[in-house]
C-alpha cells in the first residue's frame, strides 16, 4: 500500500487549494467559458474531498456522492453551454463584463 505514504490531510489540502483556485478563476477570468470551467474545477475539488473522506471512513457513501456530483456537473455543463451560446448569439461576445446591462 504505497497509498499510505501520503497523509490524508494532504489530499484535503490539495482539495482546498483547488477550490480556492476555482474561486480565483471565477473572479479573475474574463471569458465566460473559462469562468464556467472554474466552477467545474471547484466541483472537482469537492469530489476529491468526498473521496478522501470516504477512504478515511472506510465507507462507500462518499464515492457515490462524487458520482452524483459528476452527473449533475455534466447536466449543468449541457445547460450552461447552451445558455452561453445564446448569449454569444445575441451579443457576439464572450467577455463576461459585457453582460452587465441590468444594474443598480
Amino acid at each position: 500500500m504505497t497509498f499510505n505514504s501520503v497523509p490524508l490531510s494532504w489530499y484535503l489540502m490539495l482539495s482546498a487549494i483547488l477550490f480556492v483556485l476555482g474561486i480565483a478563476g471565477f473572479l479573475y477570468r474574463r471569458n465566460v467559458i473559462t469562468v464556467f470551467m472554474s466552477i467545474e474545477l471547484m466541483l472537482n475539488a469537492v469530489n476529491l474531498s468526498f473521496v478522501t473522506f470516504s477512504y478515511q471512513l472506510k465507507q462507500v457513501d462518499g464515492h457515490i456522492f462524487s458520482f452524483f456530483v459528476m452527473v449533475v456537473a455534466a447536466a449543468e455543463a449541457a445547460v450552461g453551454l447552451a445558455i452561453i451560446l445564446t448569449v454569444f448569439k445575441n451579443r457576439q461576445s464572450l467577455r463576461i463584463d459585457d453582460v452587465s446591462s441590468m444594474k443598480y
Binding site: 474561486i23 473572479l27 479573475y28 469562468v35 463584463d97 452587465s100 444594474k103 443598480y104
Partner: protein, 613 residues
C-alpha cells in the same frame, strides 16, 4: 343582543354602494348610505336600552380567529359603559354627518364612491369601538386609517390631496409600529390579547414583572399617531385636503379620538405606570399649547379648526394622563359635538362661497348665511368654554384634575383655553363680521345641510348636561377634588377674555391686529409657518432616508473597491465614497466577489467564535 349587526349595516351599505352604486341614481345611493347608518344607530339605542345598567361588560363571542397553542384570539365584541358612549357618538354624529354630506357632495364627482368609503369607515370605526381584544381593535384601527387615506385623497386630481393621503398613511405607520410592539409585549407577558383577561391579570399583584412602562409608552406612540399628538401630529392639518364632511367625521369627531379611547380602554395598564401617565399628560399639554399657538395665525378656515382639533385632542390626553379618564372621554364626546359642528359649519361657509376657504376672502357673511352663522357661534362658545356650554363642563373637569396633579399643567391649560377662545372667534369674526371682501355670491345651505348643524348646535350647548363622568364612575372611580373656587372660575374668564380680545382685534379695531402682528414679526412668522416642523422633518428624516439609500445602494454602483482589488489595487484610485457604491454594478464577477466576501466574513466569524464550547 346581536352586536355584530351594528357594524354590519354600514358594511352592507359599503358593499351595495361600492358594487352597484355607479348605476344607481343619487337618491338610492343616499338612502343606502344614510339608511345603513341610521339602522346601526337605532340598533345601538336598542342595545343600550336593552342592556340596562351595564355594570359589567356584555361580551359576545363569535368565532375563534387564531388559535395557536394556548394563544387564542377570537372575533369578540363587547359593550360596557365606555363603549356605549363611543357607540352613541360614532353612530349619532356619523348619522348627522352622512345626512349633511348629501347636500355637500351633491355637485361632486364620484358620489357613490364617496359614500361607499364613508360607510366602510363607519364599519371599521364601529369594529374598533366594539372590539373586545387588542388585535380586533387593531384591525379597526388600521381600517379607519385606510379609509382616511382613501377619503383624504378623494380629490384624486389634486396632487396635494394625494400627498396629504400619503403623509397620513406613513406617519400612522410609525404609530402602528408602536402599537404592534405593544401588542407583542402584551402577548408575551399575559399570553392573551383579550381585554377582560389582560386587565384582570394586570390587577393581580403577582404580575409585577410586567414592563408596564414599556407597554404603555408603545401604546402611547400608537395613540400619538392616530390622535395627532406631538411628535406625529403633522399629518392632521394636511389631511384637511379631503372633503369637509370627511374632516368633520374622521378628523374631528371619531377616528382621531381613537387614541384617547384606546388609552382609556387600557386604563388599567396605564394606572400601573404613573411615569407613562405623566408622559401622556405632558405630551397632551405640549400638543394642546403648540397647536393652539399655530391656530392663531392660520388664514385657512379649515386649517384653524384642524389645529384646534389637535389642540383639543391634547386636552383629552391631559385628561386621561392625569387620571381623569372619565373627563377625557367626556371631552371626547363634547368635542365630537362642537368640532363636528365647527367643521360642518365651515363646510357650509365654503359651500356658500363655492370652495373659498381663505378667511381673508370672507367677511360680513352674518347677514347672507344667518343659520350657519348662528350655529357656528354656538360651536364657538362651546369650544371657548363659556359657562353652561358642553365644552365648559368637560374642559373644566380636565383642568381641575390637572390642577390636582400639577398646577403647571393647569396654568398652561388655562393659557391654551384663552388662546383657543381667541383663535376660534378670530376665525368667526373674520368670516361673519366686517365687510364682505370676496367676489362670490354667497347662498344659504339647503335643509339637509343646516338641519344637522342645528342638531349639533343644540348638543354643543346642552351636551354638558349628560353626566358622563357619573355614568363612567363604576369603570373609572373619581377622585375627590379639592380645588378652590377660583380654579373653577378662571377658565370661564380666560374664555371671555379670549373672545373679547378677538372682538377688539377683528371687529372693533382691526388696525390693532396688524400692529400686533408687525410688532412681533418673527414670532408671527414662526407660528405662521407652524414652527417649521414639516421642514425640519423633511430635513432630518425624509431627505436623509431618500438620499442615503440613493447614494448607498442605488446610483453609480461603479465597482470601485472590488474592481480595485481584482485589477490590482490602486490602478484606479477613487474616493472613499465609492466604498458605499459597491453593490449591484451589473457585473457577474463583481457579484461573485460579493459572495466570496460574504463567505470569508462568515468563515472568519466562525473561526473567531470557534474553539471548544
Amino acid at each position: 343582543m346581536n352586536l355584530w349587526l351594528i357594524p354590519i349595516f354600514p358594511f352592507l351599505g359599503f358593499l351595495i354602494n361600492g358594487l352597484f352604486g355607479r348605476r344607481f341614481p343619487k337618491q338610492v345611493v343616499n338612502v343606502v348610505a344614510v339608511g345603513s347608518v341610521l339602522l346601526s344607530f337605532l340598533w345601538v339605542l336598542k342595545t343600550i336600552t336593552g342592556l340596562g345598567a351595564m355594570e359589567t361588560a356584555h361580551v359576545e363571542r363569535y368565532f375563534t380567529w387564531i388559535q395557536s397553542g394556548t394563544f387564542n384570539v377570537g372575533v369578540d365584541f363587547a359593550v360596557d359603559r365606555l363603549t356605549a358612549i363611543m357607540l352613541l357618538v360614532v353612530t349619532g354624529v356619523g348619522l348627522l354627518i352622512h345626512t349633511y354630506a348629501i347636500g355637500y357632495m351633491e355637485h361632486e364627482g364620484g358620489y357613490y364612491r364617496f359614500f361607499a368609503y364613508l360607510n366602510l369607515f363607519m364599519f371599521f370605526m364601529l369594529t374598533l369601538v366594539l372590539a373586545s381584544n387588542f388585535l380586533l381593535l387593531f384591525v379597526g384601527w388600521e381600517g379607519v386609517g385606510l379609509c382616511s387615506y382613501l377619503l383624504v385623497g378623494f380629490y384624486f386630481t389634486e396632487k396635494f390631496a394625494t400627498d396629504a393621503g400619503n403623509k397620513a398613511f406613513i406617519v400612522n405607520r410609525i404609530g402602528d409600529f408602536g402599537f404592534t410592539l405593544a401588542m407583542f409585549l402584551i402577548v408575551r407577558h399575559f399570553g392573551t390579547l383579550d381585554f377582560g383577561t389582560v386587565f384582570e391579570q394586570a390587577k393581580n399583584p403577582a404580575n409585577s414583572a410586567v414592563p408596564f412602562f414599556a407597554i404603555c409608552m408603545l401604546l402611547l406612540l400608537g395613540a400619538t399617531g392616530k390622535s395627532a399628538q406631538i411628535p406625529l401630529y403633522v399629518w392632521l392639518p394636511d389631511a384637511m385636503a379631503g372633503p369637509t364632511p370627511v374632516s368633520a367625521l374622521i378628523h374631528a369627531a371619531t377616528m382621531v379620538t381613537a387614541g384617547v379611547y384606546m388609552i382609556a380602554r387600557s386604563s388599567v395598564l396605564f394606572t400601573h405606570s404613573p411615569a407613562a401617565m405623566d408622559w401622556v399628560a405632558a405630551i397632551g399639554m405640549a400638543t394642546a399649547f403648540f397647536a393652539a399657538t399655530i391656530g392663531m395665525a392660520q388664514t385657512d378656515m379649515k386649517k384653524v379648526f384642524a389645529y384646534s382639533t389637535v389642540s383639543q385632542l391634547g386636552y383629552m390626553f391631559v385628561g386621561v394622563g392625569v387620571g381623569a379618564f372619565s373627563a377625557g372621554v367626556f371631552h371626547l364626546m363634547t368635542h365630537a359635538f362642537f368640532k363636528a359642528l365647527l367643521f360642518l359649519g365651515a363646510g357650509s361657509v365654503i359651500h356658500a362661497l363655492s370652495g373659498e376657504q381663505d378667511l381673508r376672502q370672507m367677511g360680513g357673511l352674518r347677514k347672507k348665511i344667518p343659520i350657519t352663522c348662528i350655529t357656528l357661534f354656538c360651536g364657538g362658545v362651546a369650544i371657548a368654554g363659556l359657562p353652561f356650554t358642553s365644552g365648559a363642563a368637560s374642559k373644566d373637569l380636565i383642568l381641575e384634575t390637572a390642577y390636582a396633579r400639577s398646577p403647571i399643567l393647569y396654568w398652561i391649560g388655562l393659557l391654551t383655553a384663552f388662546m383657543t377662545a381667541f383663535y376660534v372667534f378670530r376665525a368667526l369674526f373674520l368670516a361673519f363680521f366686517g365687510k364682505y371682501r370676496g367676489d362670490k355670491h354667497p347662498h344659504e345651505a339647503p335643509f339637509v345641510m343646516w338641519a344637522p348643524l342645528a342638531v349639533l348646535a343644540l348638543l354643543s350647548l346642552v351636551g354638558g348636561l349628560l353626566s358622563v363622568p357619573r355614568w363612567l364612575e363604576p369603570m373609572f372611580p373619581e377622585k375627590e377634588l379639592n380645588v378652590g373656587q377660583l380654579i373653577t372660575i378662571l377658565p370661564f374668564i380666560a374664555g371671555f377674555l379670549g373672545i373679547a380680545l378677538a372682538y377688539l382685534f377683528y371687529v372693533a379695531k382691526p388696525s390693532l391686529a396688524e400692529t400686533a402682528k408687525n410688532s412681533m414679526g418673527w414670532l408671527y412668522n414662526l407660528i405662521y409657518n407652524k414652527y417649521y416642523v414639516d421642514e425640519a422633518y423633511d430635513l432630518a428624516v425624509v431627505n436623509p432616508l431618500i438620499q442615503g439609500s440613493r447614494s448607498v445602494l442605488w446610483r453609480g454602483m461603479d465597482a470601485g473597491l472590488i474592481d480595485g482589488i481584482v485589477n490590482g489595487v490602486g490602478r484606479r484610485s477613487r474616493g472613499i465614497g465609492n466604498i458605499l457604491k459597491l453593490l449591484q454594478s451589473g457585473s457577474i464577477r463583481n457579484y461573485a466577489a460579493w459572495v466570496v466576501f460574504g463567505s470569508v466574513i462568515l468563515l472568519i466569524a466562525i473561526g473567531l467564535s470557534g474553539g471548544p464550547r
